[in-house]
Symmetry: C2
Subunit: 746 residues, 2 copies
């Protein structure tokens, strides 16, 4: 910590102590006192310091940040320590990508410094653009443009007579998670893969490019992890167990199924243009067309050949998770857990440090409350994760190490990650939907002066009217009716994953966004203090709003007699998911039937000069036995409504012993959503309501055992998981019935 | 006619004479004989000759084409003459467009010659890129990018605080008709207008650019007319009457409301990029973003200033319509009328000569049938129009001159225009929907070997399955059920307009398309024989298919005892339009109500750094008295079904006098769709079922008096025209009842 930061801490603390001594500590005054401890200036100072050097896993500055964080927590009165893990984390020794035909053009390499970005020249300790957990190799082959590189794109290519066998695939970022692109390329026989940022979504299509504006410049590259997250996150060589220093029994690199086998590199659109402009072969279908000023072709012939080579250092690297606790006065073994990671790809200003400094603000304000005499009822655990970027390493290894304790103690996990100017967004376990709305009603939006809830509602309504909303008429109707705004389901891409999907803990993920331009420098060297304070959250006003929002969640859950949940919201949401699954099956069945009738139409309609063949024949979607799922949902709905009604009537007046039994009954209820068998082909994922989609990645798939089985035509799995999902929901309902009996005393 | 053409004629004729002497002339053998007279080689030769020099109105080669066409008709045995009109047709004396700030860049001028296009250097007699009927002027002002320049775009600009008053608007082609763009710019106070071709829809976004491929090159410009077609087409100074040579009573140029008052020029995207890349001001909303590799801004500040000047020769120019007849043996005063124009913007290969040479093939084949002894029952009238491009001049002046005779004699008008490789498309009066399907079932598709109807059906089905069809599930369902494919409604943009919308004559418009790339050179100097035979219809095989299709329509109508119509198809279609109108009113009412409730959402949701204000308040859409329309449609449906059923039962066995009464009763029935008052604010358009949209132009608006009034919030007009439209439909139904009584003898 530097001097200026220490000064800020001392000043704020004094102010708070004066404020809190004036009145008794009610929840409202507690939150007001908490707010008084939140400072955008603090966050600016910490952000400037933490972004001053590259802070990826294994970097010197990553350790510096962990040590400084530890010192801050301690100074603020927390019981804190650093927990180290040793993880497989490959770093590039050399990266090579060049066009070798029709002419030789060397591409790739580090992104250039620009004068308007003061840290962009400070890349001595930075890694060059690469993707973690790709497979090293050295290949030269023809290039094929595979659009987003998702299954539908390979179908489109097959219908045009193009495949990637023995070739190098070039995919654009977007539509699905980064890691799916080389994984699917590999499965289709590609021997190498390039992933580039197309300017349509991520460049001038998004606005003026950096440094004039905040959008991605032609030479900006998106780094990232391509470990097969959808199979399991964490250290690829230690699935299911913690990578504690000195551990034995690691998988070999070859046996670790989440490590890619083919060399893969990311690329700027400045470089990609040179390759794509020279590609011949069939014309790209409309869905393949991006924002480059060229006629996109898919290649697959010898028009363009590329040399791609990556060589990595595959040694173990240390992770430094900072763990900090404020012990609960009444329920020390009930934990409210909250985390944000501190490692970035380079300087990591928006991702993750904007969220990290907001978390530190909360920690400082909580420490001040404690110093002023307050103690939480439940234990509060703050975690500054390391190694999120390479594959949620810090959180996953921590969760795998402490699984039993977390399942026995944790009430909720609250996550944040990068933050920026814009609109309040919450995702997570739907029994917390109302709380996520309630806290937002009490936090002032820095720009509009209304509440962040009111602004989020206004945005939903304005977008729905203008016809460019997220197309969610149900959400717009809820917004207009004044009801709670729906919160999203969580897939993956941040540290909540193992809590929610491996341990079955209730989870919330909070962010502001939609008005900043951090997407334009995502995972590049330009995700810097300069960019962040010019384009993403000037003055870190939304950093402070984030602290106030998450602080309220933490305080209200930590101090509640019984955690403030509404199971009816969960039941209604799951019922909506089941409706979607029914519709999916019905739509698929109708479409399959249509295809089976269209025997000659595709050939007759195809342009002989630009041939597109018929789709592959499919096994028609049968009627699927979804009754067990429907029965589980019916039980859940009835039980949830009964519990909520009972708690509304009796909840305020429970005898202490009764409440203790109730809390014990409900604390681990979400763990009933786990099935020990896990999801088909990915047993690490055990939650049958929420999962990252196998073919979306970050995007969630709800009721995944059933939904994905229908999508992927695993009809036996669909029937099996309709049963399994129905069972976990019925078990959940039975637990609610037990809770209702406790509340009503019957 | 050159020697090679004469030789082809003689050879084909001999072949046909031999063929037709072998069997009696049934409809099937007649059509087979007709087909034998159709020759792609003929069409190639004529196309090459006609495209050898610029052929716009007033050019020397335009007159040469008319004279050659006259000679061919005469040689083929037709009674033919040239009918001349003298029309106002401005041609540019000078065109100037240049950026004057932030730097001076001279733009515009003639498109460059390219070696791969053999006529592209032959521009001595060509006009430079311009738009006809713009208003001359010389202006220098800041530039504003107005997207497509349609009403929604001006609303989007207003919400961003930008207007065009005193400025020059730059609009991109697309979404609405060309002429709307400068008209609306002028109405919003702009003092000049530029219209450019954005590469997203019309450039590399569409494929490889010319000459590598067929798409529009960076230096290609779309000429066109910007006369206010939606008020009335034809000579702006002679609305409603024919511009016969020596006529008196013309409006002055100033009094002609369809002539624009502000200077306007078209532009290539190569030029437009230079202007748009330098524009500042608010970021363009997503709907404004095109395919240029820039961050689009809307300007409106002083970032870019443009000098725009046009000076024209406003003298009268001669038009040469070629009129040719084959007199009917039985019903000489019942005319089957068919036309295609022969004037282009420069060389006009695709537009219009590809359609024109197909028509000439039909004329030659019909002439051969006559020489072999056949005579049509009804008179066949072929028209090779001049002056379509500047504003449907040749057809409109002809129709206005001969209105009474056409209304007294014409049974149908069949139009074609440019043609290219692809899929059969028909539009027109829906009682001819079944005939348009029936002839297509009997014409072989040049590529697939099946019928053109089967291929059109296959395309509709394949596109619907692939999810990139025209989104018309009703059409796809009809296609899959094996029923007739729906034909489209006609708006404007070709010579059918005055027949359908001014005279109330049944009309069909026929084309092939969707696989050629004539759009890439539309109205540019590269719409050439070279482009056409490389990219649009190599070998003119679809030219021959067009001749065979239209020839069947002509023969079947000309020789039918009673023209082969199905009024049920018309009634069903109009009933569908009425449903759409109801839905439009309901959707508008709901949306207006939503807006009235959203008092603060837009302001709260707006990004303070990129402000977007609320929409203008609107007068809410009330419940509109649509009952008279619904009653008219109910009557029409019942009467149409009754007539079709009666004709199916009795039609084959009518006594000659009865049939004569029936035919006289039905021949002018579509004229009952006219209202003498015409449409609100545009009395020239009298058809209350079909019109070009005031804000779509080429695109049709059906039940326009009601539909557009709802769209434009003229609610009194909506109620009035629901009554008027109900009345014309009820009159139509009553006429059908009279026909049914004739058929059934009751």
């Amino acid at each position: 910590m530097n001097t200026s930061i220490r000064l800020l801490v001392t000043t704020a603390l004094t102010t708070l102590a004066a404020a809190t001594s004036a009145a008794p500590v009610t929840p409202a005054t507690l939150e007001a006192s908490f707010d008084a401890g939140i400072s955008s200036a603090d966050q600016m100072a910490w952000l400037k310091d933490f972004t001053s050097a590259p802070n990826h896993v294994g970097s010197a500055h990553d350790k510096v940040i962990a040590d400084k964080t530890l010192a801050m927590f301690k100074e603020w009165g927390w019981d804190a320590h650093i927990e180290q893990f040793d993880v497989l984390y490959p770093t590039p020794i050399s990266t090579t990508v060049e066009m070798v035909s029709p002419q030789r053009i060397v591409l790739g390499g580090q992104e250039p410094a620009i004068p308007e970005d003061s840290t962009s020249g400070n890349t001595k300790d930075a890694l060059p653009p690469y993707v973690a957990f790709q497979g090293d190799g050295d290949v030269t082959a023809p290039l094929v443009y595979v659009n987003y590189g998702l299954p539908a794109d390979y179908e489109a290519l097959a219908r045009r007579g193009v495949d990637v066998k023995g070739k190098i695939a070039i995919a654009r970022y977007g539509a699905g998670w980064r890691g799916l692109k080389p994984k699917l390329a590999q499965e289709h026989g590609a021997i190498g893969c390039i992933i580039y940022s197309d300017p349509q979504q991520d460049g001038y299509g998004d606005g003026d490019v950096y440094p004039k504006g905040g959008a991605r410049p032609a030479f900006g590259v998106q780094r990232g992890s391509v470990a097969d997250m959808t199979t399991y996150p964490g250290d690829p060589t230690t699935p299911g167990v913690g990578s504690v220093p000195g551990m034995t029994g690691r998988l070999t690199r070859e046996a670790a199924t989440t490590i890619l086998k083919i060399p893969t590199l990311p690329m700027s659109y400045g470089d990609a243009t040179k390759l794509l402009a020279a590609l011949a072969g069939p014309s790209a279908p409309d869905s393949f067309k991006g924002g480059l000023p060229i006629a996109y072709h898919v290649g697959g012939d010898d028009s363009v050949k590329v040399h791609l080579a990556v060589k990595s250092d595959w040694s173990l690297k240390p992770l430094y998770d900072v763990v900090a606790m404020l012990k609960g006065a009444k329920h020390p073994d009930e934990w409210v857990v909250r985390g944000n990671h501190h490692d970035g790809w380079v300087f990591g200003a928006a991702d993750p440090l904007s969220g990290n400094v907001a978390m530190l603000s909360e920690a400082k304000a909580l420490g001040q409350l404690v110093k002023s005499g307050w103690r939480p009822d439940r234990t509060i655990v703050y975690l500054s994760w390391d190694g999120e970027e390479p594959m949620l390493l810090g959180s996953t290894e921590y969760v795998e190490t402490h699984a039993a304790e977390l399942q026995a103690k944790a009430v909720v996990y609250i996550n944040t990650d990068g933050n920026e100017r814009g609109f309040y967004r919450a995702g997570g376990s739907h029994e917390y939907q109302h709380l996520a709305n309630a806290v937002a009603a009490d936090v002032t939006d820095p720009q509009s002066g209304g509440s962040i809830a009111a602004r989020a509602r206004a945005k939903l309504l304005a977008d729905a009217y203008d016809g460019h909303g997220r197309g969610d008429e149900a959400a717009a109707a809820a917004a207009e009716g004044g009801g709670d705004l729906p919160i999203g389901a969580l897939g993956s891409g941040s540290d909540y994953s193992s809590f929610l999907q491996h341990l079955g803990l209730p989870t919330l993920d909070i962010a502001f966004g939609g008005e900043g331009q951090s997407g334009g420098v995502y995972h590049s060297i330009y995700d810097s203090y300069d960019h962040f304070t010019r384009f993403d959250d000037p003055g870190l006003k939304y950093g402070a709003a984030m602290s106030k929002t998450v602080g309220r969640l933490v305080l209200r859950i930590a101090d509640a007699d019984t955690p403030p949940v509404r199971f009816g919201d969960f039941a209604d949401t799951v019922a909506q998911y089941a409706k979607e699954v029914h519709k999916l099956a019905d739509d698929r069945r109708a479409k399959d039937a249509r295809l089976s009738r269209l025997t000659t139409a595709f050939t007759a309609a195809s342009d002989p000069l630009d041939k597109v063949g018929p789709p592959e024949p499919v096994a028609p979607t049968p009627f699927i036995e979804l009754a067990p799922l429907d029965n589980g949902i019916a039980k859940l709905s009835a039980s949830a409504k009964a519990y909520d009604a009972a708690y509304t009537t009796h909840g305020a007046n429970l005898a202490p012993a009764t409440r203790a039994r109730l809390n014990a009954t409900l604390r681990d209820i979400d763990q009933l959503l786990l099935d020990p068998k896990g999801l088909p082909s990915r047993p690490w994922y055990k939650n049958l309501v929420y999962a990252p989609g196998k073919f979306t990645g970050y995007g969630a798939k709800t009721l995944p055992g059933v939904r994905e089985a229908i999508e992927e035509r695993r009809f036996a799995d669909a029937a099996e998981y309709a049963g399994r999902t129905g069972t976990v929901l019925a078990n959940y309902a039975a637990r609610l019935d037990a809770a209702t009996a406790i509340v009503t005393g019957r």
